[in-house]
């Protein structure tokens, strides 16, 4: 009987210890990190990006009016197809870029749920783009936390064609 008080104390400890964390503190936003550079290091003016076949007003993903030699941005990839296409408008000239990828859902936490994780297998693009260099083929929720000089992909475009 001398342990009854201790038992009751332990009961209270259990009740207080079972408090559930229901808030999501982690990101479930999976986006590929891209840097767009001109091949000859010249400055280009303006960049607009939207998805292929997504031409409505609200479908613009990037609308950067600043002049720069290099721009860094993030883009969402398709959750239902194995490739994702984007239309890049640089100095009023359009280019199309496709990412080919594999996708799987990855568990983040009980509160946050799942988020997609991609592996970039390759790219295809039109002539306005010189080359695409894949630095990190894995795209997950941590990708958007990359340092400002780090990215998944670097796109080099030819200013002469624009």
């Amino acid at each position: 009987m001398k342990y009854l008080l201790t038992l009751l104390t332990a009961c209270l400890l259990i009740l207080t210890g079972c408090d559930e964390q229901n808030r999501c503190y982690e990101s479930v936003n999976t986006q590929i990190v891209i840097t767009l550079k001109s091949s000859d290091f010249s400055i280009y003016h303006g960049l607009i990006i939207h998805g292929v076949d997504r031409n409505a007003t609200g479908d613009t993903l990037v609308n950067d009016t600043l002049s720069s030699q290099s721009k860094r941005f993030t883009l969402p990839l398709s959750v239902s197809a194995d490739s994702t296409g984007f239309v890049l408008t640089i100095a009023n000239v359009k280019d199309t870029l496709y990412f080919h990828h594999q996708m799987s859902m990855q568990f983040i936490s009980e509160s946050c749920g799942f988020a997609p994780k991609y592996t970039i297998d390759g790219t295809s693009y039109h002539t306005g783009i010189d080359s695409v260099r894949i630095l990190d083929p894995v795209v997950n929720t941590k990708s958007i936390e990359k340092n400002t000089n780090d990215q998944n992909v670097i796109i080099y475009f030819n200013p002469a064609s624009h």
Binding site: Y3, C18, E20, V79, T84, S109, G113, F114
Partner: protein
Amino acid sequence: MIKTLSFILILLLISSVDISAQQQWRYEGPRIGFDLSRFLLPAFQSGSRHGWEIQGDIPYKGNWFPTAEIGMEWFDDKQQTFHYLSNGIYGRLGVDLNIAKFESLKDQDLLFVGIRYGYSHFNQEANNIIYSNYWGDVNSSLSRRPMSAHWGEIVFGMKGELFKNFFLGWTFRGKFPLVQTNDPNIKPYIIPGLGKTTGEIPFAFTFTASYRFPIFKTKTLPKPIKVGGAKHPGANREENSQYPSGGQYNMNQGR
């Protein structure tokens, strides 16, 4: 009339002698119990978590209690964006050491520390995984997959004999995951027997109601465990006088 009173008096005397004789024995034996906290868990978890656990121990040299625990657990977590299911069986093996001093032959209350090795074999799956982004919505699932996990525990707790041979106790368990099957899509966040894995050091409480089978009896009180270094010779001479020479615990004595 005098004969009747004498008869009753003799009966009472015999019975009292018998009772006092019983009190001179210390009863020992294997203890089997079940975890009461399993019935409380559903009230404090976001998902539906059910299960059972049977625990057993047997005294060894008075203060040591080799322990085995086995159980099953089902976890059904239906959230807004996914539905996670896992179930499996688990077992733990270990030993408890009583660190409290027994005050008398009748005193069976324990204050113990111990260690456990745990193993779980379980299955997990997820369905109705919903995710939305710029490109639309997806509803996917991850098929059932067999998993296993190994872990260690450091335990601390109490057991008190509430009624004759009936014990109630609690155990605090600090858990240390060792090895588990790697699933690239879902790191299991609840493992049967181990519990939630999201904390840095998972911990849990268990409440045990158990019954001791009084198979052995002895007149020897187990020698208390000495904590710390050796004392000055003779410092505990009076304290140890109640224990037999050498403090040996003889389970066969008095059989």
